[in-house]
Symmetry: C2
Subunit: 657 residues, 2 copies
């Protein structure tokens, strides 16, 4: 059966696929990435396309209205091509690189990152995890013709004080030629890995030998492997500087938005291999960009440190996630032995090891260990709450003495999932909303000042808070009757952007279903804080500091978040942002062997609470399904504000009718 040709607009690219292929797979084959939160299960409704020519089968669900279907709208994952056809990818269905190229990804010198790093890193003379040691080897004579390896180890011991050292086969094999090429001067790259064994740090390992003095060319890569975004930086170890940054969407995105859908995909057929390949290809792209930006050669890279959540780390390593996914939620590994980067599919030389930050549990991963490391909270006396908001919101509570953690299954609302016009923080996403308390009219602000295409997480918090403060939304999550509120397909809805001003085909609204999803998400987070606090016998009043982590976190309005009950009602000055602390932690663990050991210790000493089956958590969760909370006395400043604001928008108008 001959292939049929699919034309994709507006890109105007074509691809030949077998008849009956799904439009989603056809688009991926053409290199056009379509949002597909559920990984092609037909449930998220995000992969809408408009078929403009040709015949198809399927692709109609309750996510597509009859009217839309008549216009050619289909869910790409469920729709099969029956003939050559042409399809339009609407802006809202696209995974835009645009958003990433704009500064939604934190600079490594985020607000707190740099000072914290300075604070944590031992003053002067950091000892990086991988060192380049210049050695002068005694040339052999008939009287002293010990092997090249023996004399090299002798030189390393004498000149660098390293007594016990293991030797990689590849480095050993290169010795005879290298030592003579460099006229008995060589540079030995030695990895001080912290995780090769079950107790204590692993022993130093000779991984590479180069002729002459190459110590000045000594670069490492730190990478944060996010479920959505992969961010990397190039570190010049000879100058302790970050010299390039790059990021890209995780190519696993096409197989599902969140870790659950990835794990579902991983269990099917070659799914695990496909996902591993997707993330390594993404990393290869990011590393390639770092090399270009820093004008380096691939061979200049000595080491790579990654931080990712437990699922991302497992998938990168090609480890089975079957038991991560289901109770009792057991990861394959907590401390990962360093592994040759090349063996995973990374386009790096054989001497490059990949170190993955240790994992705490199935839902508290290396990104959180890295974050705790970067925050420095484990070195301070103050009680600190560390919050990383996301589909799985991870929470750490602790200080110098103890650390407890939990992961709350908040759902995808903070990332725009389960929200009718929700979208990721990319160009055209509404990130801020102001509602005129007199007219109930909204003013929206978008990322990149582009025409609004949807609402991102910070925008949702913002609009819910504004709706609450103006009184358009009741604390129970239901809309008051109001001129801007109307009956929609998902119950009542508030129009944020009418179609004539929107960047999509139609109005941008926020519905009661959206608000309900958001309420569950913020409720889960809050219940998480409370459960952890109770576990150590503390209350909110005992919290000295709240650190908000994550690229998303940095764009959150703290006061508005308190208004919705997402954050506890504490003075704003106790809150701080740390940005992409996962990447920062990966960097710190590269720059300093002491901090790498700290990371291992954090991993070992943090106590994990499983909330899935936790009665106390469930009670707290039910109590949090209200704005800001059913226990209003815990939110005095919000109550005060509501009182002052009057919350009369629309009601006044109603009265004036």
């Amino acid at each position: 059966m001959p292939d049929i040709r699919i034309t994709l607009l507006p890109d105007n690219v074509t691809v030949d696929v077998p008849r009956g292929e799904s439009l989603l797979r056809a688009a991926h084959a053409a290199g056009v990435h379509i949002t597909s939160s559920c990984g092609g299960q037909g449930t998220c409704g995000k992969c809408r396309v408009i078929v403009t020519k040709g015949s198809t089968t399927g692709g109609k669900t309750e996510k597509i209205s009859d009217e839309e279907y008549a216009k050619g709208y289909r869910l790409a994952c469920l729709c099969r091509a029956d003939s050559p056809l042409e399809m339009q990818i609407p802006a809202e269905s696209r995974l835009h690189r645009g958003g990433l190229d704009k500064p939604r990804v934190d600079k490594p010198t985020g607000r707190l990152a740099a000072p914290l790093a300075d604070q944590i890193l031992p003053a002067g003379g950091q000892r990086p995890v991988v060192e380049k040691n210049l050695i002068a080897v005694d040339p052999p004579t008939l009287q002293d013709n010990a092997s090249d390896l023996s004399r090299t180890l002798r030189a390393i011991k004498k000149q660098h004080g390293l007594d016990t050292i293991s030797v990689d086969f590849q480095a050993m094999a290169a010795l005879p030629g290298t030592l003579r090429e460099g006229n008995w001067t060589a540079t030995a790259t030695i990895l001080h890995d912290g995780a090769s064994r079950s107790g204590g740090p692993g022993e130093p390992r000779l991984v590479r030998i180069e002729p002459g003095d190459t110590a000045g060319r000594h670069y490492c890569v730190a990478i944060d492997i996010g479920t959505t975004t992969v961010c990397g930086e190039m570190i010049d170890l000879s100058r302790d500087q970050v010299i390039a940054e790059a990021s890209d969407y995780n190519m696993q995105m096409k197989h599902g938005d969140d870790v659950i859908s990835r794990m579902v995909f991983a269990q099917k057929g070659d799914g695990l291999k496909i996902l591993q390949h997707a993330v390594t290809e993404t990393m290869n792209g990011v590393i390639g960009q770092l090399l270009r930006d820093a004008s380096l050669d691939r061979r200049d890279i000595s080491h790579i440190t990654v931080a990712g959540n437990t699922v991302m780390t497992h998938l990168l390593l090609g480890l089975d996630t079957r038991y991560v996914r289901s109770a009792p939620y057991t990861p394959a590994v907590n401390r990962v032995p360093p592994v040759k980067a090349r063996s995973l599919g990374l386009d790096l030389d054989g001497y490059v090891y990949l170190y993955a930050m240790p994992l705490i549990s199935s839902y508290v991963g290396g990104d959180i260990v890295a974050g705790v490391l970067a925050s420095g909270l484990y070195r301070r006396d103050r009680n600190t709450l560390f919050i990383d908001i996301g589909t799985n919101g991870e929470i750490v509570l602790g200080n110098r003495e103890w650390l407890v953690t939990a992961s709350c299954s908040a759902g995808p609302a903070f990332e725009g999932g389960g929200i009718r016009h929700g979208m990721r923080a990319a160009a055209g996403a509404i990130e801020e909303v102001r509602i005129d308390p007199a007219t109930c009219e909204p003013v929206v602000f978008t990322i990149g000042e582009e025409k609004p295409r949807g609402i991102c997480g910070s925008g949702i918090i913002n609009v819910v808070a504004e709706l609450l403060e103006t009184g358009i939304l009741e604390p129970n999550g239901k809309f008051e009757k109001n001129v801007r509120v109307r009956e929609g397909s998902d119950g009542m809805e508030y129009v944020l952007v009418p179609s004539e001003r929107s960047g999509i085909d139609g109005d941008i609204v926020i519905t009661e279903v959206d608000i309900d999803n958001f309420m569950r998400a913020k409720g889960a987070m809050y219940a998480g804080y409370q459960t952890l606090l109770e576990s150590v016998g503390l209350t909110y009043a005992d919290l000295d500091e709240i650190i908000i982590a994550g690229a998303f976190g940095s764009y959150i309005d703290i006061e508005k978040s308190i208004t919705t009950g997402l954050f506890p009602d504490l003075p704003v000055e106790r809150f701080s942002f740390i940005g992409n602390s996962s990447l920062q932690g990966a960097r710190l663990a590269t720059l300093s062997r002491e901090l790498l050991a700290d990371a291992e210790n954090i991993g070992a000493k943090m106590t994990n609470f499983e909330l899935a089956d936790n009665k106390s958590f469930m009670d707290h969760y039910m109590a949090a399904l209200f704005f800001p909370h059913t226990e209003l006395r815990n939110f005095p400043s919000v109550m005060e504000r509501f009182k002052n604001l009057g919350r009369t928008c629309g009601k006044k108008e109603n009265r004036s009718e």
Copy 2:
């Protein structure tokens, strides 16, 4: 240009090769192995073939007489095929498997091996280098959902007392499935390698995890990689027994007989890779045979230990031998880190590590370390001389306190090289000769009682001693005038087997050139002993024991060897044979971690003397170029015997003429 067809007789196999291909390469391509001591350089003259049909170019050297050339004799390495042709491979040019299948390869229960092993191995409860540990892992619960790796390490620590352990990635990746498949009972294979680092033993390493209890299936392979022969045995670690033995010619043979020609070959083009492939293919064949004989599956093998000389070890590992070969003779490595067998090209699973016995110097290798280990001499007070006779004769002198070693470049005479009718110890080789002192008539005994095809090393010693004792040969290596002695192309020669009784086309003779080559060989060995003895201030009288190692060694007649001056003139009861001590040592290092550590210590404490540039050695060597030696007072028993025998054979006859 189309290929031309070559037919090889007597096998009657054909092969198509490009016009102009050498007959040697054609024969190899056809799977017919022709002796080629020099590796195809045209110098050894061993690869004689008879072209019976077709036209050729080249292949005539001084090794082929005009008469032979007319009969179709050619040196296969230098002769090129110009047309389709037919060639006969004479028996003497063939590498026969036959010799190997006969018991020329020592049984592991050789004369001394078994008692020595009992003596050395710690009584009861040996701890092998690789262990299979049954573990019961706590199943995870929501209250204890640490990673599969953490709980596995916990079980290993608790149930087997192993605190610090490194983990192979592959074993880690298999954990989730394996633990559940075995219902939380598993078998952990743990390697206790002694050589992963520069000081002290390496740490235990988890290399494999299997579901359930597989501790009863626990097998290791020990292999002696000889320059000529590769011998292996299968060890059942669950019963401490050798259950199968196999051996084969080292496939590197076609690229040269000795280590020098192999190193020359290794430096050309892909030579190193070709040689590595040749030895791993040989090992794969030997392992395959072991598996068949023991009715085991390839996956039952847990570990492999090899002992080989420095060049064999380097070539197996794919290490450059360029600097081994030339002064100051520096090997790449002495202690080899354990390496994954599969990475070398061995057809074994990814969890199988190969441990190579440590090397002392470029010409004293792991076979000697293994031999010293197997002999146990390093554990005794007695002064022991350990001799491994070969092209490079290795000598060790020592006791519990100290060990010195040297390698003598004896030349190939002991292996039949440089001897007109010399051959390896294979079927048809003359291994014993008796000369009737009255008639000067020889009686020859061959291996396998086949028609004589040549003389092997033990036969050469034997015939030289007989010629000396009968007076046919003078102590200066020249023949007396005698009815059995005639003028040949290489000076005078003694006819051992007339053509009508020989298995080859012509008489089998021993020439003055042969005898000169043998004299140099035995002289080098003797000079070696003397140099070592002097280095520690001892004399022959101080020697309590002389151990003769090697498969070849076991077939030597000690008294005859003393007669030629190959061995010192000491009471025969001080001599003992140990057989293939290299293989025995590899076995012991597998069976016992303590003995593996001993091997490492032997490697570290043995002092190597380079004889190449040693003035004292050269003096001793010159003095030894006489039968038995120029200093006759060192050989009192030989003088006595010569006197008693009269040494009048031929002379009487001459007189009677």
